[in-house]
């Protein structure tokens, strides 16, 4: 019977192509808008590194102003100072650890045709690559020796390798960056990280950087700060080093702790470190140090932007309006079918038969609308890409789960919209329309 109803539904669609297409369009627009915002929210709140998100912890130390917290009501600052970053790195109390910061500089390509250009640089420690499962095409990251020796080495992204070296294995070659020559030790594979959780202060939906180099080089090469800097007191001395060793926070500190015992041990270490620093005249606030795993850290930072949530609600309301519209169109369509319904009832169709027939008819419109809505969602997402940067690329290869959600939503909402018109169609009296034709 289902196939019969499906055939009748197709015939009915063809009979009123304009009316039917209007319904499909209404559903498609509602679904398209919803899927766009659902996808944005879904990706924003998805776990960027599911294998390890429970083992990677962001470190917060309360080194802030004794008279007021870094963030109300009593939260520590969301970055650490150079002093603390380097001290924690030296202590090596975690299984893996990397302090990091964003810097930048001018790249001067070897081949004469290309113009110099500005780039971001991620300053990090050697553990960075292993901690964040960074994939390599050629070579590898540097080792901890290179951190200590402040070796002039660099890891570059795949895109940068394509741009500078035409995609060849460039390990051992030289890049001129920020006025210095660096030796390439590794080239990454395509590396997408959404959200790019390791540094939310510079935008959780920014791209991963094109250049990575040992963080200690910041001091010797006087590399700039391209991230957020927050200070609660004036640097004691002028100049680059005066600022670097000030109480200003500008560095992210990540540690990898494999289990709860390691986490507790590290927390104890952080507290004793703070006590130590207090004895030296810093950390004037009571101990308020924190370890947040990846999802906790993203939640703390409201990585799912409020406007994305508002857009989600708006789009759901828009879907509702589209559905109300669809209800009106369905009523019009089904009232045009009163003659057919009346005849079918007269020759023996039960109310249930009529109900099922029209349920399939609305379901068909829902599915077509859903598919068209997916197309619109793709368009919408590439438009949203302007707002949230790289996000859009991820979305063109939409998750099968999301496709299923879209079609399910379309089916359910069209059937909901069809419920009243369908019920009404079963109320057509068997004989009422048969007198004359």
């Amino acid at each position: 019977m289902f196939r019969y109803y499906l055939r009748l539904a197709l015939l009915s669609y063809k009979r009123n192509p304009i009316l039917s297409s209007l319904m499909v369009l209404a559903i498609a627009m509602g679904i398209g808008a919803c899927m766009t915002t659902i996808t944005v929210n879904y990706i924003m709140s998805s776990d960027p590194i599911p294998q390890k998100s429970e083992q990677l912890f962001y470190v917060q130390l309360d080194s802030w102003d004794p008279n007021s917290p870094a963030r109300e009501p009593n939260d520590p600052p969301d970055q650490v100072t150079w002093t603390d970053a380097t001290n924690l790195m030296k202590a090596k109390q975690a299984f893996r650890q990397s302090a990091m910061a964003r810097s930048g500089g001018v790249v001067e390509p070897e081949n004469g045709d290309s113009k110099p250009f500005m780039t971001d640089i991620r300053l990090a420690y050697s553990d960075f690559f292993a901690m964040f499962n960074v994939p390599f095409q050629y070579g590898s990251g540097w080792d901890s020796q290179s951190d200590d020796n402040r070796d002039m080495v660099v890891v570059i992204s795949r895109a940068m390798n394509d741009q500078l070296f035409g995609g060849e294995n460039s390990v051992g070659k030289t890049v001129r960056l920020a006025g210095h020559n660096f030796r390439v030790v590794g080239v990454l594979k395509e590396w997408r990280l959404v959200p790019r959780f390791y540094d939310v202060t510079t935008g959780a939906f920014d791209n991963t950087e094109d250049f990575y180099m040992p963080m200690p080089l910041k001091e010797s090469l006087e590399l700039t700060s391209n991230g957020n800097v927050n200070c609660w007191k004036r640097p004691a001395e002028d100049g680059f080093l005066g600022f670097l060793y000030s109480e200003c926070v500008n560095f992210q500190m990540w540690v990898e702790l494999r289990d709860d015992a390691e986490k507790q041990a590290y927390m104890a270490f952080l507290n004793s470190y703070a006590d130590e620093q207090r004895a030296l005249g810093r950390f004037e606030r009571p101990n308020n140090n924190r370890l947040s795993n990846v999802m906790e850290w993203m939640a703390y930072n409201n990585v799912v932007a409020d406007d994305a949530e508002i857009m989600l609600w708006l789009s759901l309301m828009f879907l509702l309006v589209c559905l109300l519209n669809t209800i009106g169109l369905l009523l019009a369509k089904f009232s045009g079918k009163a003659g057919e319904i009346s005849l079918r009832r007269a020759v023996g169709a039960s109310r249930r038969d009529v109900f099922m027939q029209h349920l399939v008819e609305t379901g068909l419109i829902g599915v077509i609308g859903g598919i068209a809505g997916l197309g619109l969602a793709m368009l919408g997402l590439s438009g949203i890409g302007v707002l949230y940067g790289d996000l859009a690329n991820d979305l063109t290869s939409m998750d099968p789960k999301l496709v299923a959600i879209a079609l399910g939503l379309a089916l359910v909402s069209s059937i909901l919209a069809g419920l009243y018109p369908t019920w009404r169609s079963t109320r057509v009296a068997p004989a009422s329309q048969l007198k004359s034709q």
């Binding site: 019977m1 019969y4 015939l11 009915s12 063809k14 009979r15 003659g339 057919e340 005849l343 079918r344 009832r345 007269a346 020759v347 023996g348 169709a349 039960s350 109310r351 249930r352 038969d353 009296a429 068997p430 004989a431 048969l434 007198k435 004359s436 034709q437």
Partner: protein
Amino acid sequence: MLTMTNVKKIFRTDLVETHALKDFSLQVNEGEFVAVTGPSGSGKTTFLNIAGLLETFESGQYMLDGNDVSQLSDNARSKIRNQKIGFIFQGFNLLPDLNLFDNVDVPLRYRGWSASERKQRIEHALETVGLASRQKHLPSQLSGGQQQRVAIARALAGEPRFLLADEPTGNLDSKMAHSVMELLQDINQRGTTIVMVTHDPSLAAEAGRNIFVRDGQVSELHEVNTFADVVNG
């Protein structure tokens, strides 16, 4: 087969009440061919619709096959319409998007028969009305008389025991009308009980029994043989 006793049917609109049937009583026996005549608006279609369980009525009693059908659920009524009764409506009421085969298929679809059984019955029914070669045509591609014959095929395909025909020849010329009449007589001969409404006394004369309806009542139950009798009641 059919026994109506004092059936009353009132159509209510905001302004008027129409007493379409008043104390309508009639008995039709198994195997009969009854022709119903009467002036326009006298209640013939109303009677036929009630007989076919398409409409309910205010009071009185209607026994079909010995069962009181006035208390049946909508579902049960649908089932009886589907299995026992064949309809030929005053309009053809063919579905314009379906070809002849699918139009005849409509009642059979609700019967739970297999595809092959339906196909065999549809082809047989279309053959009976002489339209076997037109299965794939749409109703709009047929003449009025041919459409009427499709409507007859649709009513016959399920082999109902009870055939209700509301002016089955109303749209046909007299030659076609008589051939449809022959067809109905044929079916009647094979055991189907038929009640047919017609305006044409010469057709009515070919039926086994005539009844005359006036003002919502059966005014005459004897055989009517002449045109004058019909008109004068």
